[in-house]
């Protein structure tokens, strides 16, 4: 049985004018367990707190009830006061007799009765309170960034600049990501490589940044401040320490007909290759699937020509295990596959391309060396049609329900660049809406229309039909003119929807980070915590969280970095003690609690238990206090009542119910 002290606050006249404070003291004193009850003008004042401290000392109180204003106001104050007197701060409960009583009632008798009942409920709760201790966990001062695109690079640079070690894991042979494939950027039209490359170099040169390219995250365990991650460094077959990046191996490689991923498969590369000129690291990798040496055992041309002796066919995958305090996810995006969009003839005609393919075509390092030409016959297109929202804002299962956000702007960019460089080319853009909400965005779009004469048509393209003469017949509707259009085109460019990188689901599962139905990572709060995952210690950078353009990505990458830095700056983490706890004798191990936990805080272990003499190994839920935020979703899902919430236990809430209803 607790020894409870009840302290009733007048709050000047805020409470005392409507609630008979003396009566509340009198009634509370009658409750079982209450050994002390008094009232005071302002309990929150120094003098009021001193009364609590004195009573704890004098009466050996084990629990405190303060009948006062909202706990949102002064719970912390009174907890601190209790702690000063050596009482566990979680042995304090507040009866809110101001906001929930005196301020809303006029009748004194009624308000007093209610105050007494609220006090009883708090007394009933404190009777079942148990001292709680916030836990502590150490923070490993190192961050992991998954993904080496502009988002990952920016986050890594910001974290490194703050003085913490950062590892970037990039699954491709080079960092750079999607941005390295772009030709120009909107709305300034500066060259993508020109602004990205220096960032890549900076990251590679930074003493605090360590880059694992051609590597993947294999396993993640642990929790905020203390993650352990296995990184698989795939065998490059080239010794990075010896390679000089001369490129002779690629030139001499006899296997040359392999689709060049960097150019979206529009041309070929050799089996040993450096993905692009500015690649970091500037070290080739052998594509073992297409390498003759690996396929037949005969060849070895690259090894023969490598003066540095860097080629190593025996190289094996390597697992690096590293500890991290924070993880930034920057896994980026890809465009959706268009194989289901036969109406646009994407699979049927070489001259129907995606916008990303157009980027490569227009890039000087691309498959056509930057000349705008049809991939079917190399001729310069005279009529180009752009189709917007291919798979974006889509109601059927082929596409995505969301707006991909960047297409309107890059299409305006493409249209403008084409009209600028090839003024006698006609450019028509079919759109549903043109969305330009960004700095200088609308001006940019208007320039395309007004200064560059791009023909914008509001309407959807119904069909693209390849003609025998090699042209494309575009059937569309013009919604403003309310008519059907049949238009001949030499090239059709599709603004395909973007979607999160395919690997993100696997990564999210490893991180126990939640993911939405579109595979975008979910933020901890849509408005207030947009760069954090609900799983503590996981931060979101770039398009993995939702469609973004480059400046937004960079901004979010910085924000994610700041959140990670804020975490890494701490030596220890204090955990909220009001967390869920599973009673191992009652737990069924059924996993229902883990299914509703938004924080991935529940895991299972096979544990030897002694259940009143029955010894057996059982699957038992274990809550990680560092991750649990104390929402209680698990406690209700648990049918046996094994899962309970400290500070708001089942029996405590029931005791409050009983006290109110009696």
């Amino acid at each position: 049985m607790q020894r409870i002290g009840v302290f009733v606050c007048h709050c000047g006249t805020n409470i005392a004018a409507t609630v008979d404070v003396k009566k509340v003291v009198e009634m509370a004193a009658k409750e079982p367990g209450v050994v002390h009850a008094e009232d005071y003008q302002y309990m929150c004042s120094e003098a009021g707190q001193a009364k609590i401290i004195n009573a704890i000392h004098e009466k050996n109180l084990t629990g405190i009830v303060v009948c006062s204003c909202s706990p949102r106001m002064h719970e912390a104050t009174f907890r601190k006061a209790a702690a000063k007197a050596g009482l566990n701060p979680y042995m304090v409960e507040i009866a809110n007799i101001r906001e929930h009583c005196s301020w809303i009632h006029k009748d004194m008798e009624e308000a007093t009765l209610k105050a007494v009942i609220l006090a009883r409920a708090a007394i009933a709760k404190v009777n079942l309170d148990a001292p709680l201790q916030p836990g502590e966990s150490l923070v490993t001062k190192r961050a992991l960034v998954i993904g080496g695109g502009i988002a990952g690079i920016q986050s890594a640079l910001d974290i490194a600049e703050a003085g913490y070690e950062v590892d970037i894991v990039e699954k491709l042979p080079s960092i750079g990501g999607r941005m390295s494939q772009l030709d120009k950027t909107f709305p300034t039209l500066d060259c993508s490589a020109c602004i990205l490359t220096p960032k890549m170099v900076e990251a590679a040169a930074h003493e605090k940044i360590n880059i694992y390219t051609y590597s993947e995250v294999e396993k993640v365990s642990g929790f905020v401040g203390d993650f352990t991650v296995d990184i698989r460094k795939k065998a490059r077959s080239v010794d990075m320490s010896k390679c000089t990046g001369c490129g002779v191996c690629s030139e001499k490689c006899p296997s040359k007909k392999n689709a060049n991923e960097f150019n979206r498969g529009l041309n070929n590369r050799s089996a040993i290759y450096i993905p692009f000129a500015q690649a970091i690291p500037n070290v080739p990798v052998i594509d073992r699937e297409n390498c003759i040496k690996f396929k037949t055992g005969k060849c070895g041309a690259c090894s023969k020509v490598c003066a540095a002796g860097a080629i190593d066919y025996e190289q094996k995958d390597e697992i690096v295990t590293q500890k991290y305090g924070a993880i930034v996810v920057a896994t980026g995006f890809d465009v959706i596959p268009l194989d289901k969009y036969d109406e646009y003839a994407y699979s049927q005609s070489k001259d129907v391309i995606t916008s990303l393919e157009l980027e490569r075509i227009m890039n000087a390092a691309g498959p056509t060396k930057g000349h705008l030409e049809r991939l079917s016959d190399g001729k310069a297109p005279k009529n180009i049609v752009f189709v917007q929202c291919v798979g974006s804002r889509c109601s059927d299962e082929r596409g995505k329900s969301y707006c991909s956000k960047i297409c309107c702007m890059y299409t305006a960019k493409h249209a403008m660049l084409i009209r600028d460089k090839y003024p006698d080319t006609n450019v028509t853009v079919f759109y549903i809406d043109v969305r330009t909400p960004g700095k200088n965005f609308d001006e940019f779009y208007r320039r395309a229309v007004e200064d560059y004469g791009v023909n914008y048509v509001k309407g959807q393209v119904g069909k693209v039909i390849p003609q025998p003469d090699g042209t494309l017949m575009v059937q569309a509707s013009d919604l403003l003119e309310n008519k059907q259009i049949h238009m001949e085109a030499d090239m059709v460019v599709l603004a395909a929807a973007i979607e999160p990188n395919k690997d993100v689901r696997k990564i999210a599962t490893m991180l126990t980070a939640s993911i939405d139905t579109n595979n975008f990572l979910t933020e901890a709060h849509a408005k207030l915590r947009p760069v954090e995952s609900p799983t503590a210690g996981i931060f979101l950078s770039g398009v993995c969280q939702g469609p973004k353009d480059i400046p937004e990505t960079v901004a979010q990458a910085g924000a994610a970095a700041v959140k990670a830095i804020g975490l890494l700056a701490k030596d220890k983490l204090t955990t909220n003690p009001c967390t869920a706890h599973s009673d191992e004798l009652l737990c069924n191990g059924c996993s229902q609690c883990a299914n509703v936990c938004p924080y991935g805080a529940i895991s299972y272990e096979e544990k030897q238990v002694n259940d009143h003499g029955i010894r057996e190994t059982r699957r038992i839920a274990v809550v990680n206090n560092a991750l649990c935020q104390g929402c209680g979703a698990c406690t209700v899902t648990c049918p046996s009542g094994a899962m309970d919430l400290q500070g708001f236990s089942n029996r405590q809430i029931l005791a409050e119910v009983d006290a109110i209803c009696r």
Partner: protein
Amino acid sequence: MYKIEKENLEALFRKIAESQDLILPIKKAGQTNFGLWNEGEEADLDTLKTVKSGKDAFFPQSETLYTCVRDGKKLTVEPEELRSSPFVVFGMKACDVKGMEVLDKVFLADPIDTFYAARRDHGTIVAMACHEPEESCFCKVFGTDAADPAADVAVWMVEGTLYWKAISEKGQALTEAVKDLLTDADASDEAKVSAEKEAIHNIVEQLPYTHLSLEGWDGNATDEKFNSPVWETLYKPCLACGTCTFVCPTCQCYDIKDYDTGHGVKRYRCWDSCMYSDFTMMAHGNNRTSQMQRFRQRFMHKLVYFPANNNGMYSCVGCGRCVEKCPSSLNIVKVIKAFEKHGGEK
């Protein structure tokens, strides 16, 4: 002996209910159980076996023992009053009545259970012969005569007429009270009752369980039966529910619990089942940790421990309710037969 036509029974019930509580089989939502009769209630004397035996008239499934009333920090204890008014239980069967004998051994032995004793003192049992015994019945095995129940009043229902024979003093008093409604039975009526008894005996002889042997089951068989490996397989389908216990006329275990009313505590007792995992749970745990042990306990108690302590009286009366109701088709007959088959092998 007296008699009364079936269609006048309602009047008889009304008459009894005028002066005391009348408890008899009542059909509710398709099931027949003993319940307090009120005007308009559907008495069901045709169903051979009520789901529960009539024991709850004397030993209810739950009853308050006392109430603590709280006023501030003060507690006042209000004892529960004992039964002080008479009541009649009408329509128990011979096996149910025999079950009362078993309960008496437990509750009326020192220390006397005053709640039970008060009900026994004030209750009059009118028991009915079993017109058409069923395949699950095996009362004869335990020496019960389905045709001649040993209660305060015995009644026979033969072709629409109820024959009434007072046996005890209480039975005679009740007969006096309702005499207006009864008519004297003559010799031909006596003959009809005799014929009914004989018919019942004939049927009983044909029942599949009637010739079950209890050989080897007695108070001396403790070690042999307790240590038998037969239990290990027998208990397996047991769901650990309390069906057998709660329908049994002789099970008498109860638990005592407190209920917080908000103004105090009601201390009550309620039937418990030795099949439950928390039966006799104590602070350190439970002395029977497996379902096999709990299952064994039930039958050892009925067939070995009880006779050991009560001059050979078994605490099974062969009513067959467990045979009909066990969700897993287990029952005491299967237990007895299993030992017969395995010859009590060790």
